[in-house]
C-alpha cells in the first residue's frame, strides 16, 4: 500500500536550507505539510507530542552533532522513518546511520524536488514493510510459544495416565507380575520419565526464549552443590566404568546462585559427560576462584570422551542442536539441555563456554558470582572506627514436614524472614540474605554484635512470634540456635576494612562448615561449648 509523505517533521537549524526543502516539498503532489524545528530538544518534544509520517534530519544542530543526533531521534521514534539530509558527504557515517535504522542519507545540494519526493516516499514504504515484517515475526514467535506451552501441558494429561497405570502394575496393585513383565514395565516407566523430561525442557526453552525463565539466587556452598550433583550422577558413571572426580578449591566463599537451577546445570553437564565418555575414561568437576576477577568463581566439567568436532563446537549451545558427527547414537533428549544450561548461567550474570579436542575430550566451563558478605557486614560490626568486641551467629532453620511443602511455603519463609528482621537490633545485628541448598529447606542467619545472653533473649522473642504465625503448627519444624563466633584475631597493623573482612571470612567459614559437603571443616575450638539451641 503506497503512502504519501503527508506530514514531514523537518529538523534543520539553517533557515535557508529549511526554506529550500520546504519549497521543494510544497511543489510535490499531493502537497505535504512541513513542520520545522531547529534544535534536537525541540524535535524530541515534537515527536513526543505527535507522530509525523517522516522525519527529515540534519545532523549538525545547535544542541547535538553527528551520529548522536540520529541515535536520539531513532530512540525517541523507533517507528517513524528517518531520512538524513546532510551537508556532509560522509560515506562511513551514512552506512552507520543505515545500519542503525535510518532509511536514507541524502546530501544537500545533490537533490532535485523529484529526487527528494521519491526518496521520502520510498523511505516511508520501506519503513512500513519493516514494521509489518517485525510484527509478523513477533506474532509468529508469540504463536509458537503459546503453541509449545499449550502442547506441553496437554501432553501431560495422557502421560500422567500412562505413568499411573504403569506404576499400578509395577507396584503389584493389579496382581502379581512375572520377572520379565516387570522388566518390560520398568522400560516403559523409563521412557515415560524421559518423555516427561523432554516436555519440561520444551517448556523451559520456551520460557528462556521469551525471557520468562526465573532464578531465585541465594547464598550457597558451591562445594556442597557439586558434591550433590556428583553423588546423583555416580551410579550412572559407575555403571559405565567412568571415573568421576572433583577438585574443589576450599577457599571458595559463598556463591550467589539459585541452588536448584545450578544443580540442574551441573547434572546436565555431567549427564552429557557420562554419555559421551567411553569406559575407563574419566570426568573431572573443578571449581576455583577466577584469578583475574575476585567476584567470580570458575566451574568446569571436563571429560576424556570423544570430543566435539570443530564444526559442531560453535553451535553446541544452539537450540535443538545435535551433533550428526557424534559417535554417540543413543539420543535421549531434544537437544535443549545445553541451551537451557547456558541461559540459566546467563541469568546469574555468568557465562558458559565449551572447549574440545576431538578424540581428547571436552570441557564445559562457566562463571558464577561470589557473594561478598564483608560489604553487607561493615555497617553493623563496627563502632567508632573499630570492631565490636563479640559476635554471635544465630540461625533459624525451617523444614517442611512434607515434600512438596504444605501451604504457601515461600510466603511462609518470607514471613519468617521479615519477622527476624523485626526481632533484631537494626544497628547492631544483621539478618543475612537467604542461605541454603536445593529443596524447600531454608536457613536464615543473623550476625549479632553481642553476647550469648542477649542472643538467648532474642531467640526467645523470635520463637514466640514464629509460633504465632498461622502456618507454624503442623506444617513445618523450625529450629532456632546460636553459636558465638571465635574471637577474631586482629592486629593493629590491619585496616578496619581488613578486620571487617576477617569477620566476614569467619562467618562465611562457619556457614559453609554447617552446610554439609566437602567444605565441612572441624568446628573451631570453643564454639561447641557455647552453642545454644531452642527448639
Amino acid at each position: 500500500m503506497e503512502q504519501q509523505p503527508a506530514h514531514v517533521l523537518l529538523i534543520e537549524d539553517n533557515p535557508g536550507d529549511a526554506d529550500l526543502v520546504r519549497l521543494r516539498l510544497v511543489e510535490s503532489n499531493p502537497p505535504v505539510q512541513v513542520d520545522c524545528v531547529r534544535k534536537l530538544s525541540e524535535a524530541l518534544k515534537a515527536l513526543a507530542a505527535d507522530t509525523p509520517s517522516l522525519v527529515l534530519l540534519d545532523l549538525n544542530l545547535p544542541d547535538s552533532r553527528g551520529a548522536e543526533t540520529f541515535r536520539r531521534v531513532l530512540e525517541k521514534a523507533p517507528d517513524v522513518p528517518v531520512v538524513i539530509l546532510s551537508g556532509q558527504d560522509d560515506e562511513n557515517l551514512a552506512i552507520k546511520a543505515v545500519h542503525q535504522g535510518v532509511q536514507d542519507y541524502l546530501i544537500k545540494g545533490d537533490i532535485t524536488s523529484k529526487h527528494l519526493d521519491r526518496a521520502l516516499r520510498y523511505a516511508i514504504e520501506r519503513q512500513a514493510l519493516l514494521r509489518a515484517l517485525d510484527m509478523t515475526r513477533k506474532q509468529q514467535l508469540e504463536f509458537k510459544n503459546r503453541f509449545l506451552s499449550h502442547v506441553s501441558h496437554e501432553l501431560r494429561t495422557p502421560l500422567t495416565c500412562i505413568h499411573q497405570y504403569v506404576t499400578l502394575l509395577l507396584d503389584g496393585l493389579a496382581g502379581p507380575l512375572g520377572a520379565e513383565q516387570a522388566d518390560h514395565l520398568r522400560t516403559v516407566l523409563k521412557s515415560v520419565t524421559q518423555l516427561h523430561a523432554m516436555i519440561r525442557d520444551l517448556l523451559e526453552a520456551t520460557r528462556a526464549e521469551t525471557g520468562k525463565l526465573r532464578v531465585e539466587p541465594r547464598c550457597i556452598s558451591l562445594g556442597q552443590l557439586i558434591e550433590q550433583a556428583v553423588t546423583m550422577m555416580r551410579p550412572a558413571a559407575d555403571g559405565k566404568r567412568v571415573r568421576l572426580e572433583t577438585v574443589v578449591d576450599p577457599t571458595i566463599p559463598l556463591v550467589h546462585a539459585d541452588p536448584d537451577r545450578i544443580l540442574e546445570v551441573l547434572i546436565n553437564l555431567l549427564d552429557n559427560a557420562v554419555k559421551f565418555t567411553p569406559a575407563e575414561g574419566s570426568i573431572t568437576v573443578k571449581a576455583s576462584m577466577v584469578e583475574t576477577d575476585p567476584s567470580a568463581v570458575y566451574i568446569s566439567v571436563a571429560d576424556t570422551g570423544h570430543g566435539i568436532s570443530p564444526q559442531a563446537l560453535p553451535r553446541i549451545f544452539e537450540r535443538l542442536f545435535q551433533d550428526s558427527e557424534s559417535v554417540e547414537s543413543n539420543r535421549s533428549g531434544l537437544g535443549l539441555g545445553l541451551y537451557i544450561a547456558k541461559e540459566i548461567v546467563a541469568l546469574h550474570g555468568g557465562r558458559m563456554w565449551a572447549a574440545s579436542e576431538p578424540g581428547q575430550g571436552s570441557t564445559f566451563s562457566f562463571h558464577l558470582p561470589v557473594y561478598s558478605l564483608a560489604r553487607l557486614l561493615a555497617p553493623v560490626i563496627t563502632e567508632e572506627g573499630r570492631l565490636r568486641p563479640s559476635f554471635v551467629l544465630a540461625r533459624a532453620h525451617l523444614k517442611p514436614v512434607t515434600t512438596p511443602p504444605l501451604g504457601n511455603w515461600k510466603e511462609f519463609c518470607q514471613q519468617v524472614l521479615e519477622l527476624l528482621r523485626r526481632c533484631v537490633y537494626v544497628d547492631k545485628d544483621l539478618v543475612l540474605p537467604p542461605m541454603g541448598s536445593t529443596g524447600a529447606d531454608q536457613t536464615f542467619y543473623v550476625v549479632a554484635s553481642t553476647d550469648m545472653e542477649r542472643v538467648a533473649i532474642m531467640l526467645r522473642r523470635i520463637r514466640e512470634q514464629v509460633n504465632a504465625l498461622p502456618q507454624a503448627g503442623g506444617a513445618s519444624t523450625i529450629e532456632l540456635s546460636a553459636t558465638p563466633l571465635a574471637a577474631i584475631l586482629t592486629s593493629p597493623a590491619q585496616t578496619l576494612e581488613q578486620q571487617v573482612q576477617a569477620v566476614a571470612n569467619s562467618v562465611t567459614d562457619m556457614i559453609l562448615a554447617e552446610l554439609p559437603g566437602p567444605r565441612a571443616r572441624e568446628t573451631k575450638g570453643g564454639n561447641e561449648n557455647g552453642s545454644l539451641n531452642t527448639n
Binding site: Q164, L168, T402, G407
Partner: protein, 149 residues
C-alpha cells in the same frame, strides 16, 4: 484388582467410618480410575466427580476428609470449586490438594491463595502425593484444614 472393569462411581463409597474418605475430582475417567485403585490400595475410601458442578454436590453429600482436585474441569473449574468450598462452613475445613497438568508458575500461587494446601503438577510422584495426603489427614484438624497464605 481387575483393571478392565470400570469402577461404579456411584456406589464407590464403602460404609467404613474409620477409613478416611478422599474425593477425586478429575475429568479424565482413566485417571480417576487409576487414582481410585491407588488410593484404595492404600486403604482409603474414594468418591469421584468429573466436573465442578457434581464435585460440589458430592462434597456436600459425602463430606470427604480430603479432596484431590484437578484445575481444568468442565462446569466450574478448580478455582471455582475452591471458592465455593470456602463458602460452605461444613466444607471449608476440608484440605484440598491440587493435582493438575497446568503450569505451576501461573497456577500454584493462586491455588494456594484460594485455599489449597498443596499443589502437584501431573504426573506427580506417587510416594510424594501419598505422603502429603497422609500428613494432611493426620494433621487435618491441627491447622483447621486450611493453611492461611
Amino acid at each position: 484388582m481387575d483393571l478392565l472393569t470400570p469402577i461404579d462411581e456411584s456406589t464407590a463409597t464403602l460404609p467404613l467410618r474409620q477409613r478416611s474418605k478422599i474425593m477425586i475430582v478429575d475429568d479424565d475417567p482413566a485417571l480417576r480410575q487409576a487414582l481410585t485403585l491407588r488410593l484404595r490400595a492404600n486403604d482409603y475410601q474414594t468418591v469421584n466427580a468429573c466436573d465442578g458442578y457434581s464435585a460440589l454436590a458430592l462434597a456436600l453429600r459425602e463430606r470427604p476428609d480430603l479432596i484431590l482436585l484437578d484445575l481444568g474441569l468442565p462446569a466450574g473449574d478448580g478455582f471455582t470449586i475452591l471458592a465455593h468450598l470456602r463458602q460452605f462452613p461444613a466444607l471449608s475445613l476440608i484440605p484440598v490438594i491440587v493435582l493438575t497438568a497446568r503450569d505451576p508458575l501461573a497456577n500454584e500461587r493462586p491455588a494456594l491463595e484460594s485455599g489449597a494446601v498443596a499443589f502437584f503438577q501431573k504426573p506427580a510422584d506417587n510416594e510424594e502425593l501419598l505422603g502429603v495426603i497422609r500428613i494432611c489427614l493426620e494433621a487435618g484438624s491441627a491447622w483447621g484444614g486450611k493453611l492461611p497464605s
